[in-house]
Symmetry: C2
Subunit: 449 residues, 2 copies
Amino acid sequence: MNSQTSPSSDALSVGICGLGTVGTGTLLLLQDNADEIAKRLDRAIAVSHVATRTLDAERSALLEKCGVPNSSTDPFAVVNDPQVQIVVETMGGYEPAFDVVKQALANGKHVVTANKALIAERGNELFPLAQANNVSLAFESSVAGGIPIIKALREGLAANQIDWLAGIINGTGNFIMTEMAARQTPFEDVLRRAQELGYAEADPSFDVEGIDAAHKLTIMGAIAFGIPLQFDKTYTEGISCITPDDISYADELGYCIKHLGIARRTEKGIEMRVHPTLLSKSRLLANVNGVGNAILVHGNAVGATLYSGPGAGAEATASAVVADLIDIGRQLSAGVHEPVYPALGYREMRDDLPVLAIDEIEAEYYLRIPALDKVGVLAKISSILQQHDISIEAVIQKEAISEIIPIVILTHRAAEKQLNHAISAIEALDDVSGSINRIRVEPFHGEAD
Amino acid sequence: MNSQTSPSSDALSVGICGLGTVGTGTLLLLQDNADEIAKRLDRAIAVSHVATRTLDAERSALLEKCGVPNSSTDPFAVVNDPQVQIVVETMGGYEPAFDVVKQALANGKHVVTANKALIAERGNELFPLAQANNVSLAFESSVAGGIPIIKALREGLAANQIDWLAGIINGTGNFIMTEMAARQTPFEDVLRRAQELGYAEADPSFDVEGIDAAHKLTIMGAIAFGIPLQFDKTYTEGISCITPDDISYADELGYCIKHLGIARRTEKGIEMRVHPTLLSKSRLLANVNGVGNAILVHGNAVGATLYSGPGAGAEATASAVVADLIDIGRQLSAGVHEPVYPALGYREMRDDLPVLAIDEIEAEYYLRIPALDKVGVLAKISSILQQHDISIEAVIQKEAISEIIPIVILTHRAAEKQLNHAISAIEALDDVSGSINRIRVEPFHGEAD
């Protein structure tokens, strides 16, 4: 492990690329908690160089207040600064972040990044580069903000074969689902409110379509199972199709609806999927509301453990960035030859656990079927389900809304492929008008939580 | 850091002292998950020597099945075995565990222990000895079973000043409180049931009087605030005084009652206390039921994060023991000169944060007052509270039970010392018959959970 020392002092010398929310939060946290951090690390952390796209008056004042000696508008000035031992990448996005991180690693500098998209989509290239240069590429802050879930999966639960994990890992989406449930308000209205409150971006698709959650799930799944990062194989479904009616039918059946990321090891391979999910209301996970994040992890020895807290925000994310800095600093002080923890928890990633396509999974399902108010329609639907080996656990038949009677069905465990065939067949019935809303149910078989 | 290598192979050589529940669980887990562990650690863990008090036929068969080459009835045979690199201490109790661990450390061996009593009460002697010998003394399994809370506090949240933490950290006690609430059954009856189910010991005092929880709180508090272990200053109050009536009055007020360990940094010093606590039913922590454990930690940057899961049991505890083994193994592989993490997270423990006596705290309180059915008694009580600067948040006056009317009062924040005076004065009233049941309320001011 490279342990370049700062020429002028014993402090750990850090460079920050990107002064957005997380970069600024990190700079301020290093200043505000400097005493506590120095006590834990046994040396100070000094930010010696910061790069920011626009070095305006406000940012210049901040840098001066925090005693940062060098600043630039070029992130490469930071990664090529020989004084900098650790580079914090908080620019976000793919470019120039990828090249900046690559250059930092090639220069023998440790890197701490909060960039989940970069890790999930380019980590397979970056981690070997870090290993080749004998430096750490740390990313605790890239998943679930301030919750130390990477450390828990890679270290705390290292004695376990991980069976599955399931998480609420997008605060915006969880805020929207919570508000929809609490106020019986349609998706679009809640989204607008979330945008007004600053919880959702002007272009919310990254959050509400599940892409952000899929990035985080990709990272957690790789650590849990020792497989390469495979974002392109992670199934992703957003929450815009959920209606207040779905939430109230689910409630009637004893469930709430959460946007979950689920990674599971099965005999056939690994399931990696992000989608709205029915969850028994009695679960702790079902009671995680608002912008909170929570991850439930099932290990074959420990059983189910839950980690919850703020999944976003400047300070919470900075808490994880600085924890990574302290971790690297402690390793350098201990005189390591190489990083103590392989980035994803394994020296060699395994290639014998394929990620399954979504139609290869089995699950339980909630179906909301827009049936016409005619005699015998439920019998026809039941018969189709039976033909596809799908058995029914519960049915709710609601009162007619105009000519449509929504029929809500909860199925027992079934093959997704069979269910797709059954849905097509039901939608083709003359007695059914429009498309079926299908939501997967997660019973968390085995002990939990 | 001592990195004595096993002469015969590349495997990490481990000795186990004590083949009770946790020791046996550790041996079996190392066998069952051997492949997964070897993938994560990049080398195998081999148990080369086991000491057990009684080497009966069953244990001999187990050792043979697990391929353990050497066994003994003397734990010192293990700690003095030059082949053993890491000693797992799972004997429990103070003696001979203390001497065994001491000798192991003196011999330059790393130690992993599940012994919370030993760490809480003798850690101040043992940790410096580990440091002097440049070896790790790891104890993740001593607190909250399989939940990696030590790692979270010491590493994951290292960037924070910890403001407070509060935990359900005794599974037996939480099982009893959960059952009392669910069935409206008195303490004694539930305790008997817990003993029949094997959740409580024949002598349950360690659990129900809060001593076990106080050991765990002492350890977490030391890591959270960087103070020496001070078990003798941790205030401890059991749950045997809680009645089904208290649970139902609390419920009426929107609270449940949990046996919590609370550690908090205040301007005056550190609060360390284990006692029954009223907790708003809407909190995640209030919904942790049965033998589960959960710890809510508030850091000044991250806010509140929650860690929950199985707090006991052979496999869950073994999960943490083996995680410590993997951690030490990874450090040895990385060629450290000294352990990466100071045992309690700080190189120097601070002496400027005294632990406060219980009558120096401030809290909110629930009081159940056995008043006689006379006119004006509530007025007299209110007047006494007012004289002691204690204001009332809510009152429930129940129907008369024989000649006693229980009056239940919820106070605003008050000084415990004042409250004690007020309680004495109220108990001295002619209109009050018997002693007042006082339970502290925890509002978790600031954002949570």
